[in-house]
Amino acid sequence: MGSVVALIAILMVLLSGLSVGLVNDGVSGLQRMKATSFAFQEDVGKDAAFSRSVFDREAVGVWAEQDGVEQAAPFGNALVNGKTDRDVDIDLALFGIEPESFLAPEVAQGTALSGAPDEVVISATAAEEGVDVGDVITVEQTGAELRVVGVMGEQHTFGHVDVGYLPLRTWQEIRAGVREGDQVPDRVYEEITAVAVLGADVDLPAGDRAAGTKSLTTEESFGASPGYTAETSTLKLIQGFLYAISALVVGAFFTVLTIQRKQEISVMRALGASTAYLLRDSLIQSLILLVASAAVGVGAGLALGAAVSTTAMPFALEAGPIAVATVSLLVLGMVGAAVAVVRIVRVDPLTALGENR
């Protein structure tokens, strides 16, 4: 049973790493943005807000004037496929921003966006795939050429795709499918995906009424990124089952153990051990067993996880979620043990004499 708990602990750690990894992969690009909320096209479905929402940028001005809004800036989002001049295939989630707005990313390497139309700043993870400062990425959809001027210090991904920040105007052209030499209608430069809002205490519904938009907090907007809700809810379900299974396994184990120890317990009762003593004794034993096997499991899980981290799998070990998972495992294990150990109350000290035949 120690080994079962250890195995469950390993699974917990791996699942936790996978969840964190998937969340990172799905929405780290959003998590690392300074915006507190995003205003989308009013009638767009929540699940697809980032990909479907298109509206006029005049809403930015309306939002900037709302109470509590420190900053409001236009934001554009599009997924594209690209290829560098060194023949590296790279998919990018393009984040169109105004380089002077609060959304402008900090770079760890190279330079920030200066305002030149063909610049792009990419996620650290894109750099790991072989894209470097100085490379030119050709967007397959339109043939637009983007010069990599900077690389951000951390992972910025959105829907499992590396983020590339570029000037809003360039993003608008790419989104509209404008090719070199095309005549660009003015309307193209009016279209944005969302208004990114920064402000601690903003009345979102009021802003939405004024601007004719539909706001999601940054936290809520995670659910609007591709596949995010489905992935996280699946993992949560698996985790939930794992907790339930561990409580059942531990409960079953201690039930069997208590039944096995019946004779011994009846002897101790006859010798004057109180019920409280026996319960305490058994619970402490359970706790020691649980903690020891969980420790072994978490240790093994971390080792395994470290190995998995080096692969392409979205996987990230973070102390917080692992601690939560471990504590939940212990607590539920103890609940299981407590339910089982209550049988001690029913052990009759007479059994000690009774078995004498």
Binding site: V267, L271, G272
Partner: protein, 226 residues
């Protein structure tokens, strides 16, 4: 009143209810003094174990009174009864009633962990007294039946009980071992001033005892000569 260590007066114990009742004990009277070892013999099902259970506070009699050191058990609640068992009564069982996970000396320490015990025996010394000091680190399954029984007796004595209740201590032992064990019980009874009631099937060990009672159909006969 008397200051006998154990007094059973008109004790009856009826099992079951309605039509199907079994009278395990039928108006049993018995008094045992400090330093006295009393044997109970009788056929299977006569009520011998029932007598020990009632005397040790494991079962409440249907009628009659049980007094241990002058205390009427009927007046004690569950908690008090448990405490009385812990401090005043020692049980020795037939076989293999040691706690498997503990070594010999820890078996003796076990009853001292259940709660406060006044002036307990020193487990190591007691182990020496029953001739087991050289096996202090052995677990139950690494000991012979006779050795286990010695540990069981020592465990019952570690709290300096007033009363020792012993159920068929020699049932799993050969002749010589049986003699040794009952001799040890008789010796400890006298040395420690305990009142001992021993149930046995083994007529060869009765000469160690001060009195022998025969039990038939729940009735305890007056002492028979041995």
């Amino acid at each position: 009143m008397t200051d006998h260590s154990v007094v059973l007066d008109q004790v009856s114990l009826v099992h079951g209810d309605g039509d199907e009742t079994i009278t395990a004990l039928d108006s049993v009277g018995l008094e045992v003094d400090r330093g006295e070892i009393v044997a109970i013999v009788g056929p299977s099902g006569a009520g011998k174990s029932s007598l020990l259970a009632v005397a040790g506070g494991l079962l409440r009699p249907t009628s009659g009174t049980v007094r241990i050191g002058g205390v009427d058990l009927a007046g004690l609640n569950r908690r008090r009864l448990t405490e009385l068992r812990r401090t005043r009564i020692g049980f020795v069982f037939q076989t293999n009633n040691l706690v498997p996970a503990l070594n010999a000396v820890d078996q003796l320490r076990l009853p001292l962990t259940f709660g406060k015990v006044e002036n307990p025996r020193e487990p190591r010394k007691l182990l020496e007294e029953v001739g087991m000091e050289h096996k202090a680190k052995r677990r139950g399954h690494q000991l012979s039946g006779g050795e286990r029984q010695r540990i069981g007796i020592a465990r019952a004595l570690v709290t300096r009980p007033q009363v020792l209740l012993v159920d068929e201590p020699t049932a799993a032992l050969d002749r010589q071992r049986s003699q040794d064990i009952v001799a040890l019980l008789a010796h400890e009874t006298r040395a420690q001033g305990v009142a001992t009631i021993m149930v046995t099937h083994d007529h060869d060990v009765l000469h160690h005892c001060d009195r022998v009672h025969e039990m038939i159909d729940g009735k305890l006969a007056t002492p028979v000569s041995r």
